[in-house]
Homo-oligomer: 228 residues x 4
């Protein structure tokens, strides 16, 4: 990366002697960064990721193209930030679904369902993930960032894994089941998002619930009814 590239402003992080002046400056910068991200999000929702150019984002944000580069060093950093936010929202949703829920079986259901619902309701967040995980240059999305994003995704699945463990599954089995659940979820979401699932005249939600029922059956030892 060119050393001359201006470092993107950190999102209200540095605690070093932040006088009221610096605080306001930082707040302003955050607001502007936000507005760029919002513009990027909206553009990408309407046009898809591939067809969204920096020019388009700038226009929607009310900036010139060059101004964007004050906040993000490259197009891919914009998407990295967007994906980061998306994963935060996902985690928040899962956390929220578990608040004050003591029952382990319910914890499995709720956390898994929260995950599924988040992407079912926000299919563009699914696109974000795919785009970054597939098509990006390794430049904007540094290995470190990639790692961090992976970790956030992983974190969103951890509660389910923990609840499966609490239900009695040994750790390797819990890990295996959560992976299979993740795959099943992604598969359903993809089929749903691409319209493929209509071929089968099925609803992804029903299929998800059926899978979940089986999973809980396996985990609790109660026979998942054959009816799925």
């Amino acid at each position: 990366m060119a050393p001359s590239t201006p470092a993107p402003r950190r999102a209200a992080a540095s605690k070093v002697k932040a006088g009221p002046r610096e605080v306001r400056q930082q707040a302003l910068a955050d607001v502007r960064r936000r507005s760029v991200l919002d513009a990027a999000r909206s553009a990408f929702f309407e046009l898809g990721i591939e067809k969204t150019s920096m020019r388009e984002i700038a226009q929607r944000a009310g900036y010139t193209v060059g101004a964007l580069y004050s906040y993000f060093a490259s197009k891919e950093e914009v998407y990295g930030a967007l994906l980061g936010e998306s994963l935060e929202r996902l985690n928040a949703r899962v956390r929220q679904a578990l608040e004050g829920c003591p029952d382990d079986e319910a914890r499995v259901r709720r956390s898994a369902t929260a995950f599924f619902d988040f992407y079912r309701e926000n299919p563009r967040d699914l696109d974000l993930g795919f785009y970054l995980f597939q098509g990006m240059n390794p430049r904007g999305l540094t290995p470190a960032l990639n790692e961090a994003l992976n970790a956030r995704l992983r974190a969103a699945l951890q509660p389910t894994q923990d609840a499966l463990h609490a239900l009695g599954l040994h750790p390797p089995r819990a890990l295996q089941e959560v992976t299979a659940l993740f795959a099943h979820t992604v598969g359903l979401l993809v089929l749903s998002h691409t319209g493929r699932i209509r071929m089968f005249k099925q609803a992804s939600q029903d299929l998800f619930e059926a899978y979940l029922r089986q999973l809980v059956g396996r985990a609790t030892g109660r026979p998942g009814d054959g009816r799925t």
Copy 2:
């Protein structure tokens, strides 16, 4: 689209007054169409879909860029044709896996595994499907073509569905199970292809076999062992 665009040559279809001359002409055209598709396949396998330009395809096929448009009306039609072929190969593989297999349970296993393995071994064919089903203009992928491609995909899953029916599942249940199987398969393939599955230190093949074991358990009424 400009109406003056030359209609792309159909692959040996028009039966209207085909004299020996026309037959030879058509055969030639088919051969050349083939060579273009082969070039496109190879380019796209090496470079990925996004980085494969018409220039690149033309070069590999030994044509000029203009010549491509004699055979395909647009870049997206090229990919449409490629996807069509891909689906034919998929169907062939599934058919082959079932040849001379009388046992219904084995038919479920074999057909499903053939499907999974096809895409596991040829991840670019997976890309093809995603690219066309997601990112394309409605121009290259007409509703009619879309329909036809869907049908071929559907056909590749039909043997599994039939075998499930033969194993005793009522038609709606067989349909439901094949859809879920499809989703699970797609999910595993996507995780595998994008490297996401490494996060979990799992092998997609093991997970696939576990799912298949459960499925067969449900279908036969024999309890799928909880161990997956």
Copy 3:
């Protein structure tokens, strides 16, 4: 280099079955390549190399930007071609100056003077050389091309070197003298071109002749008069 980059048309080289059709095509291509080079030359003469953009060249040539890339794979290739031509002209001039000149001393004088005069009269050709030898990415100017261009420059000095040898200087001395002559020439040209020489109220031509007189004196053993 991207393999998809269209190879620039060769300048009337391939002798493989060139029918009248191909010949005309090639001639046309050459003419057009020429017009691009002429445009580039004129732009660069007026604006200097740094400030000449591909857009500028395209405009002057009456092409669109994209069209330029049919003929030259990069901006630097344009300059490479320009420099190549420049060096050919230089060599032609030196050759011409020696035509039918039997006297060795005169050969030294004429070849060296032709070299000097060429750049004195065409200072932009000097710029060309400097630009390419200093500022270029190694991409457009491949080591092979660089080598070739060096060789052409070298060739323009060879006659002088040979004549010095013929005058009696041993090869190492002839080489040394031609190198020093080259340096002196370049120095004078640079001072002249940048206007530095006016500081001294001297004319570069006079200084060149003085140097030449000394050189010939050394080579012939006749004392170069101290008066230079």
Copy 4:
């Protein structure tokens, strides 16, 4: 130029009513100007002139980009100042080489060699000169500044000229010889710096010494040995 542009701070020049307060202010400004120049120097040494942006300089100086314009009205003024410093160092070096050297012949040798060595050892200083004397807008390099820089360059050659005179050359001859020497030096440096001299498998230092020997031979009337 916009008349509203704040005039760049002069380096401790204005003598108009400099109270102790103003003196300190000016000293501070000088220190900061210095740090900017140091940053510019380092950047330009590492990256070359073309690739050094104002951002880069600001970063290295620990300033923001806007602050630079408090001290220098334009990028080119920065380079103008750098060149000025460079010429001061050059003069210092020449002066130093002559300290306590009574012999005229030695004075010729030492001053000329100091000049040559300065640029041989600091090739970037050569770049500076070329960049400013060739490629600049007339804005950054005003005629007055140009004049001043020329004078400093001239001054660095004056000792050699004087020593040649002391050796017995009449003033016009001394001027002529110092100009030729300057040209020869520049030529050798350019060939050396651009790598062109390797074509001839010669060392610029040897050639320089040979030239110097001849020059001294001419100046003293002792025959420069033919051997250069």
